[in-house]
């Protein structure tokens, strides 16, 4: 259960947030609830500059920035979201909160790479796919199962990035273990390798349109 509260954000943003919490309840791998009591909250959406009434053991603050603001990366500490609140940016913020809470609970310095093989049961949402390399990683993991090292080598992403992606997908129910699976066998094994000219066209397409 993730309990969410607000502190000094605009009434219209509060209303939107409450509605979105109802809509998203259970869809981020967790139940979601709103609370008036900050002490009970895991996450608080707060106006910038407002110090949280309860900086409890685990409260994560999400700063709600005005619509016209254009924060430069690194200018703000912690999580932030630019108004107006929408399904997409609230989902993205809540996912980041879940990850922050998970990391806070992990023992210091602990990086336990996932053992075993995994594949995706469905594609992740747009917020995850906006990160460089993730569309390719997701395409690989929907085509066949990989272990962490194999997925890292095939996607070109660092093992920690693949590990984080897989753990998030497992938490959301998008990924599953594939223990006992045969070694990598492409589903379209009969298909020939992509000819050089076609690979070259795809490379140009990526470059020209700045695909990731």
């Amino acid at each position: 259960m993730l309990v969410v509260g607000v502190q000094e954000i605009l009434p219209k943003d509060q209303l939107v947030l409450r509605s979105l919490l109802r809509l998203l309840d259970g869809r981020l791998g967790r139940r979601l609830a709103f609370s008036e009591s900050i002490d009970d909250c895991d996450v608080v959406f707060a106006a910038p500059g407002v110090s949280l009434a309860a900086q409890s053991r685990r409260t994560v603050a999400v700063r709600v920035l005005p619509e016209e603001s254009n924060p430069t990366p690194g200018a703000l500490q912690g999580l932030s979201i630019v108004a107006p609140l929408r399904m997409t940016n609230v989902m993205e913020a809540l996912r980041a909160c879940v990850e922050a809470i998970r990391q806070a609970k992990a023992p210091p310095g602990a990086f336990a790479p996932l053992p075993g093989r995994y594949r995706l049961r469905r594609w992740p949402d747009a917020a995850a796919l906006r990160q460089p390399g993730i569309p390719r990683l997701a395409a690989l993991l929907t085509s066949r199962s990989f272990d962490l090292a194999g997925a890292s080598a095939a996607s070109g992403l660092p093992p920690a990035a693949v590990d984080g992606f897989l753990k998030a997908c497992l938490a959301l129910g998008y990924a599953e273990t594939d223990e006992g699976a045969a070694p990598v066998t492409p589903p379209h094994a009969a298909a020939a390798a992509l000819p050089g000219p076609m690979r070259s066209v795809l490379g140009r397409l990526r470059e020209r349109l700045k695909l990731w």
Binding site: L23, M87, W123, R136, A139, V201, L202, L205, R208, L211
Partner: protein, 185 residues
Amino acid sequence: MVNLPNALSGETKIVFTGPMGAGKTTAICAVSDSKTLSTEVPMSDGALRAKTTTTVGFDYGECRLDEAHTLRLFGTPGQERFRFMWDILAQGAFGLVVLIDNTQPDPIGDLQRYLEAFAPHIPRQRTVVGIGRMDEAPSPSIDDYCQRLGSIDPLIPIIEVDVRRPEDVRLLLSVLVSLVEVQHE
């Protein structure tokens, strides 16, 4: 298989389809080099939101990759009565982008219809789906789409997008290109 004859001859074609008002023309404009060719006419059934015209032939845009290669982007007319055009435009296409308007009465049914119509021409492994206007109509959710389409293909990428944002169109193409690449690895 990838439609290699076209790709190797310097032409790579991607088809954008979906119901009227889903944003096909907008999406093509977002990634085309210059002005697109559009065969839009005033809507005979009245305006749909701010939309007063609809495509009756096809939309066409180009993106020059280099001296020898051009990406050609085709948008189909959305209305079922122009369905004969879908088959023509899909011939030799390298990939398919289906755009769905989530404010319509049966958007999942719309998606099923388009997937079935294009399946003979473009394999599902080279199809990506963009769901638009989810801010206005959050239901059905992406989860709902995945559940309903599970029997057809649970692994079709279904992504919330706003095609008025060029980066969202590029997101769809990033996924499509990734799909093709990994099929042959």
